[in-house]
Symmetry: C2
Subunit: 386 residues, 2 copies
């Protein structure tokens, strides 16, 4: 069990109708709002109207920034920061999924920074200050609603990478599971895969003895496996939507990191994939993870992959290798059952740009806590996944 | 799954050697320290010397308040508040177990309050402001290191009750499992029981569908059951001490409350017991819980108690009543195996003051989320436990 720091000051307001507290929560932190949202689904569902109604009722002036992309772009961040300066914005409200929240965090940092905001993602600058932000979540997936990270894409350089800092924790996040009733099956499935893969990144590191952390990880995975198909079959099942929503927050709010280290293969590689091909993050993860598990399976990693099979998939095979293989088979089968593709070719990715993807993912570094992987290893895994 | 708010801004520094950050963390919040500790075990273990060394090295002036009792008293709170005013204290450092931390929180609130501090516990006043506090934990039990609650005893009125408020969250808590290597077997066992009973208070409420929360609760219970006996047999087993320490924080930092309500029987009744008889909290809880489970077992509660038996104790009996009874039997057996008494008579409690205990525990209220219990019910459970 590694030493760790845990810190998470985000206030969560969870459950049906919690939106009623929105204006009061905003007014604890700001007086003039940048209201950030995505491609307009919140207008269809009525959430947009409710937010506007509350802002108007409490006489909170606001400026809108709609149209945030699923892989949010640095150009939108620049545009948002400009709006903040022009309109003396002092609070940013993100209403949407992880992309909208990540974009809002990025704008919050960029608004208080004199240089070009990409500096924060390319490693030239550190995020120390940011406008306060709050979020209303409409998609269970990234966990951005309860952490201090932000992943941004640079559409000029085709890079997609993360940054973060304590200043970016949302002051509050409103999590109403009913807001995800209208999420279509494919996005629900992609969200479930994203949650599960956040767990993999820490669960599959090789520190021993973080027993409590690992068992919580297993429960989050089982929650996804149980409720994912229910949410797809019955989109308005509150129990399923509620458990998935809270799973999304717990999977990346620090709880399952404690005592563990970050493996990184899945997210680093998928970020490179979706930077180049602009595919849905969860779809890329669903394709990669089973190939990665197969590739890293060896005498040293078999116990961890067998524990995954037994404790998450209820596999009862005694041999570690066989148990591990069965766990991987069930993982892929589960993803397929939710409509996820199994191969990169199914989402239009061929062999032609694999070198570029590996370069963007890790450069020349060796990564991986479960099993160290060189750029050549990552290239091999991608070839297997073609 | 009930609606909920979750908020917990305490920063945790977990692991061996984290004490090295103590002075730096203090200086983020204050300049003059009240150093609160208990009966002197920290002098034997060297923690006292290390704290003093760091405070001196960083030229942080401090005033000491040692001798805090295991059931911390309002008179000590008054004394601490007086010290804060006399010496212009602006930060309180608690070094010890839950009693020392609870007492420090109480002093932190009392120092900024003009009336008598008991007002906060008897319901006359609400805690809105407090001096910042930090803690160095030396006993895994109460979870006070990562929450905003404080339980104080009034030695004049023989009351013991809780209060709290967001201002009381420790700004940081240093959790070094090695600091619990010297905790004797009986206190280790009492701590394990305390952790488990915090879980019961929420796990055994009857809300359905808080599936993820309930499964995390079960993992905390299994962690206690696995590592409690190891920590007793091998006091310097870091893995066991580390998992128990983190379990103590997770059991009462809000994680397992979400979506659930508070049952209350065990803590309300035990607080009354230890207010009158000054027994160890965990010992009182170990006696009460199995009798309570037996008493509340009926057709409505059998599914919850059977789930406890199956998911925590690996009982494989199909019938809910029989499974529940087996789970209760194993719970009592586990407590006994750690040296806990089974009856109130073993800790010097007879039938003579049961009315007074019930009155102090609940007055005339009916309590209980798993099964509503009248004062007469509580009296009956105490008689069964004599």
């Amino acid at each position: 069990m590694q030493n760790f720091r845990f810190y998470n000051p985000t206030q969560i307001l969870f459950g049906q109708g919690q939106i009623e507290h929105l204006a009061v929560e905003i007014l604890k932190h700001g007086r003039k709002v940048l209201f950030v949202y995505g491609k307009g689904s919140i207008k269809k569902t009525g959430i947009y109207a409710e937010v506007v109604r509350q802002l108007n009722q409490h006489a909170i002036p606001f400026v809108e920034l709609g149209g945030v992309d699923p892989n949010p772009r640095i150009s939108t961040v620049r545009q948002g920061a400009q709006l903040c300066r022009e309109h003396q914005i002092d609070f940013i409200l993100a209403v949407g999924g992880g992309s909208t929240i990540d974009c809002s965090k990025a704008i919050a940092a960029a608004a208080l920074y004199d240089g070009d905001p990409w500096d924060f993602w390319c490693g030239k600058a550190t995020i120390r200050h940011a406008l306060p932000i709050g979020s209303v979540l409409t998609l269970s997936a990234t966990g951005s609603e309860m952490n201090s990270g932000t992943v941004i894409s640079n559409e000029e350089t085709l890079e997609k990478t993360g940054s973060g800092g304590d200043a970016l924790f949302p002051r509050f996040s409103i999590l109403d599971p009913a807001y995800t009733f209208t999420v279509p099956a494919d996005q629900t499935a992609a969200g479930v895969v994203d949650i599960m893969t956040h767990v993999y990144e820490f669960y599959f590191s090789r520190e021993q003895f973080a027993t409590l952390t690992d068992s919580i990880s297993e429960m989050i995975l089982k929650t996804c496996i149980h409720y994912g198909p229910i949410a797809i079959a019955e989109p308005q099942n509150y129990e399923a939507r509620a458990n998935l929503m809270w799973a999304s927050s717990l999977a990346l709010n620090g709880t399952i990191k404690v005592g563990k280290s970050f493996d990184g293969f899945n997210h680093l590689t998928e970020h490179a994939l979706s930077a180049v091909y602009d595919i849905t993050h969860g779809v890329g993860l669903a394709i990669l993870a089973p190939y990665w598990m197969e590739y890293v399976l060896d005498a040293e990693t078999a116990p961890a992959l067998a524990a995954f099979a037994r404790n998450v998939w209820d596999v009862s095979i005694a041999d570690n290798f066989e148990a591990a293989r069965e766990g991987i088979r069930r993982t892929r089968q589960f993803y397929t059952s939710m409509g996820m593709p199994q191969r990169l070719g199914q989402v239009g990715i061929g062999a032609d740009r694999l070198d570029e993807i590996v370069e963007k993912a890790v450069g020349t570094r060796t990564i991986g806590s479960l099993k160290p992987l060189t750029p050549a290893d990552i290239h091999r895994i991608l070839v297997l996944a073609l």
